[in-house]
């Protein structure tokens, strides 16, 4: 009989036994519903495994700490002590991150559908369970903010706004890359780029800003999320090492990793950079976004991860990483922020004008900042009161840059902006604008990927601002005050009547720009289509632009995996910029 009833099982032996659960099928082979261009070796790289007996109590303990933290935060009076400027921007941030968590989970499912190596499956599955946990915790955070913070308007209909909002729709676009398309490319997007490179920014650096602004419950929640990421990063690395064993995968890895990098940079850098620097009242942070980026992205990810892949035969030119940093230095988020602020009537959160204290911080961090952007911010503050009777957006719309077809954000770097023309489903030529040649490359090499009524301003072209506000349901419960406001004051809030008094017509910058350049129509919206798109409904879309006119290589208008692979590695190799 046992002498030491509390003795512990060997973790290694438990893992060895659990690993025996898979077997080679004899009667029926699994049928995948997703296609991949990758091939797999016999033996995969073994990542960290989770035994449920250890995993479940560990996660429960973390959950208890987080959920307990909400009560503690309430007792400590956090809702009224935390900075209001910061609390407002949690509305889009938390909800878009919830979508990202759902994307990360679903990513595991598509990867598992095509990866035949049993060794990898356990880790993927546990990650999906983690991601369900992250959704629960972050929705609970959203719910807590809704119930307890001073001005919850916007939270209350947040999930309704999310897919149609000018900025958050671009987040839906990015994170959807993590579970649509080739599962391995999707896996790289989520595990290798978003989780390995960017969770340190989103779940470590951002919570630090939250704490500085008195919001420690955000920090508690996201630190707990981040504690699971080491395993997710390990899943990504094991996936990479597994597919690397097959030489024929290498061009695919080179191609897919660059694309995953670019689409993530294109959304996350302007979005998170703006939130971190333009929504923090606290100015004690001596590091700016670019400094943090250099530490987390350049040093810890690019130099110690991507460059190391070179020793394993993956040859990725540094151009894309260099270019992303150059765009940040050129003011990617500083140019995006004023545009975002000027669209305040269309948003579901409030904005706070910058103050002298903010100007000082920006100038110290980015010498020359005031000369370049100061006047805009002064104008913004001057027009914040409804008695001024003027809306900054009206002036902004005049010279606004087009929005990018691929990343769906504004083309704010003039020298990078480019376009191409292609046909809609009726064969009519139209113009697509891109924020960068890289975004154009993503669109060109992924026929059929970018669907839907993508351009917010095309969709609302010709309507008055007040009409769009009403259509999007952006009024508070009193039926007249806007949810979005250009300041945080309780009085002097803008109502729909104030807007009507200085109403103007929305013009899509894409349509205007195409016309000015003498290009084919820049509009991609149609009222005839149920989803407002001239190229199908995103739920049965037939790509029409591949191979010059649209039939696809089989002549039936459908693009198949072989077509994609050809576009990916054959016909359209890495484009040197």
């Amino acid at each position: 009989m046992a002498t030491t009833p509390t003795r512990r099982r060997s973790v290694t032996k438990t893992h060895e036994r659990i690993a025996q659960l898979g077997w080679n099928r004899d009667y029926h082979q699994p049928v995948p519903i997703y296609d991949t261009r990758y091939v797999f070796p016999e033996k995969a790289k073994d990542p960290m495994k989770q035994v449920m007996r250890e995993y479940l109590p560990m996660q429960l303990e973390k959950d208890e700490r987080v959920y307990g933290g909400f009560d503690a935060a309430l007792r400590a009076g956090m809702p009224t002590k935390a900075d209001e400027r910061w609390l407002q921007v949690m509305k889009p941030l938390v909800l878009i991150l919830v979508y990202a968590e759902g994307a990360a989970g679903r990513c595991m499912s598509v990867v598992m559908d095509v990866v035949p190596n049993e060794e990898l499956l356990n880790g993927y599955h546990v990650q999906f369970v983690d991601e369900v946990r992250h959704i629960g915790m972050q929705m609970n955070l959203a719910r807590w903010y809704t119930k307890h913070t001073p001005d919850p308007a916007g939270w209350h209909r947040g999930q309704e706004y999310l897919p149609e909002n000018l900025f958050t729709r671009a987040g839906i676009n990015l994170f959807s890359h993590a579970f649509v398309g080739d599962p391995i490319a999707a896996g790289f997007t989520m595990m290798t780029v978003i989780e390995t490179a960017f969770t340190n920014v989103a779940f470590v650096a951002l919570p630090d800003v939250a704490t500085r602004n008195g919001d420690f419950i955000q920090a508690t929640t996201y630190s707990s999320v981040q504690s699971d990421e080491a395993r997710h990063i390990s899943n990504g690395y094991a996936t990479m090492l597994t597919v690397l064993q097959k030489e024929e995968n290498i061009p695919l890895i080179q191609h897919d990793l660059q694309q995953a990098w670019w689409i993530t940079h294109a959304f996350v850098d302007p979005f998170v950079g703006t939130i971190m620097e333009y929504f923090s009242t606290d100015r004690s942070d001596t590091e700016n976004y670019v400094t943090k980026w250099d530490r987390w992205i350049r040093d810890d990810w690019y130099r110690s991860y991507v460059e190391q892949l070179g020793t394993m035969g993956v040859d990725i030119p540094p151009d894309m990483f260099v270019r992303a940093r150059e765009r940040l230095v050129a003011g990617l988020h500083h140019k995006t922020a004023p545009l975002a602020f000027s669209t305040w009537p269309l948003q579901f959160w409030k904005f706070d004008p910058l103050t002298e204290k903010d100007f000082d911080w920006f100038e110290a961090q980015y010498p020359g900042w005031y000369d370049e952007y100061g006047a805009t911010w002064e104008a913004y503050a001057a027009l914040a009161d409804p008695d001024e009777g003027a809306i900054l957006l009206a002036g902004f719309m005049e010279g606004a840059p087009p929005f990018c077809w691929t990343c769906m954000l504004a083309c704010v770097i003039d020298e990078d902006m480019c376009h191409r023309t292609c046909c809609d489903k009726e064969g009519v030529e139209r113009t697509r604008f891109y924020c960068s040649p890289e975004c154009r490359w993503l669109d060109e090499t992924n026929p059929g990927r970018y669907t839907g009524d993508r351009n917010f301003f095309d969709k609302h072209h010709g309507k008055s601002l007040s009409e769009v506000i009403l259509e999007l349901g952006l009024l508070r419960a009193d039926g007249k005050t806007l949810i979005g406001q250009p300041h945080l004051k309780k009085d002097r809030m803008w109502t729909i009547d104030h807007i009507r008094a200085c109403d103007f017509q929305i013009h899509s910058p894409n349509i205007v720009q195409a016309r000015e350049l003498g290009l084919p129509d820049g509009n991609w919206h149609s009222d005839e289509d149920p989803f407002g798109t001239v190229q199908g409904d995103g739920n049965g879309f037939q790509p029409v632009t591949l191979y010059g006119g649209g039939a696809g290589q089989n002549g039936d208008g459908r693009v198949r995996v072989e077509d994609m692979a050809r576009a990916a590695v054959g016909d359209t190799p890495w484009v040197k910029l």
């Binding site: 036994r17 629960g136 119930k147 398309g181 409904d537 995103g538």
Partner: protein, 352 residues
Amino acid sequence: MAGEVRAGERRQRRGDEPERSFQWVVPKGRKASIYEDLTLDTQSSVHRFQKSGYYVSFADGRGTWDDASTGLDVVTWSAFRDPNELWERPYFQQGAQCEREIEGAVKSARSEGLLGDVDPAWVDFLRRDGQIQAFVEHGIWSIATRRSRAALADTLTHGIVLYAAVKQRQAQAFVIEGMDLDEDLGGGFSIEAAKARWLGEPAWQDTRRVVERLGTITDWGELILVCGLVIEPLLGGLVRRELLLRGGLRAADPITPAIVRNAQREGDWWHDFALAFARFCAEDPEHGEANRALIDGWLAAWTPETLRAVDALEPVFAGAPGVDFDRAREAVVTGQQALLAAAGLGEPVAAS
């Protein structure tokens, strides 16, 4: 799929502060539950608020989500609710509780010297067949986890993921039991031996065949219903409850019943989930009839093969003391019929 309910208007009309609750949540009951608040619309849909269509599509034309991912259709997928409202926190609470109870059973078996009382014939049976159910659970896990992504509402996706998670927990619990017994009862409980028997023993081959066939399911709706209405009530009930639980209790086995009881408690959740889903589809005002025909086809396609697997396990029962195959078979067949009746579905196809 017309007629998605405009969120929240019902609640807005009541006098509470509308800006302090999630107005997109259409509560099933009088008030939104925390499960509804934390789950609903975390998966976006062109049938809910994504009016501009999906922004990212597959090269073959499928959108981010695809209505054709299941042959079933309902007016409003987002109206589905898990009757037990499982979300992450209770999932971890319950899962950790299962593991604690099993650990407690092992600990007391050791400290109280209970393993010496176990019927030796039952110990022999456990050496032979005690861990094989782990492969069944693992096989179900491997398809459930793959099909979860395509489901057309967050409540469905989360339900399938958590189902996969409980299957993995159950599979591992049987394997760890073998490890523990190896130490306490002097060997013979290797996973390799169990696997060899899973792969080669004739009595288990019809079970393996049907589990492998699950891997060919491409329709997530079919997956929920085949696992919920056929595989679990017939095969799961037969091996877990009728064989391992009843046999273990009679043989004074202090560990196996603790494992199975916990699995059955999770099984009750899945039973309710699948039953609710079957009703949800069968009673849909527009598509109910077509759904019922489709589900009947699935039942007809899976029940005979599953019953063959049940019948093939008679020799396994014969090798275990204190269990009766005929009674066990009758119990699971009756149980499944009651389940189908509760779902409002027709008689299953009789076994040959």
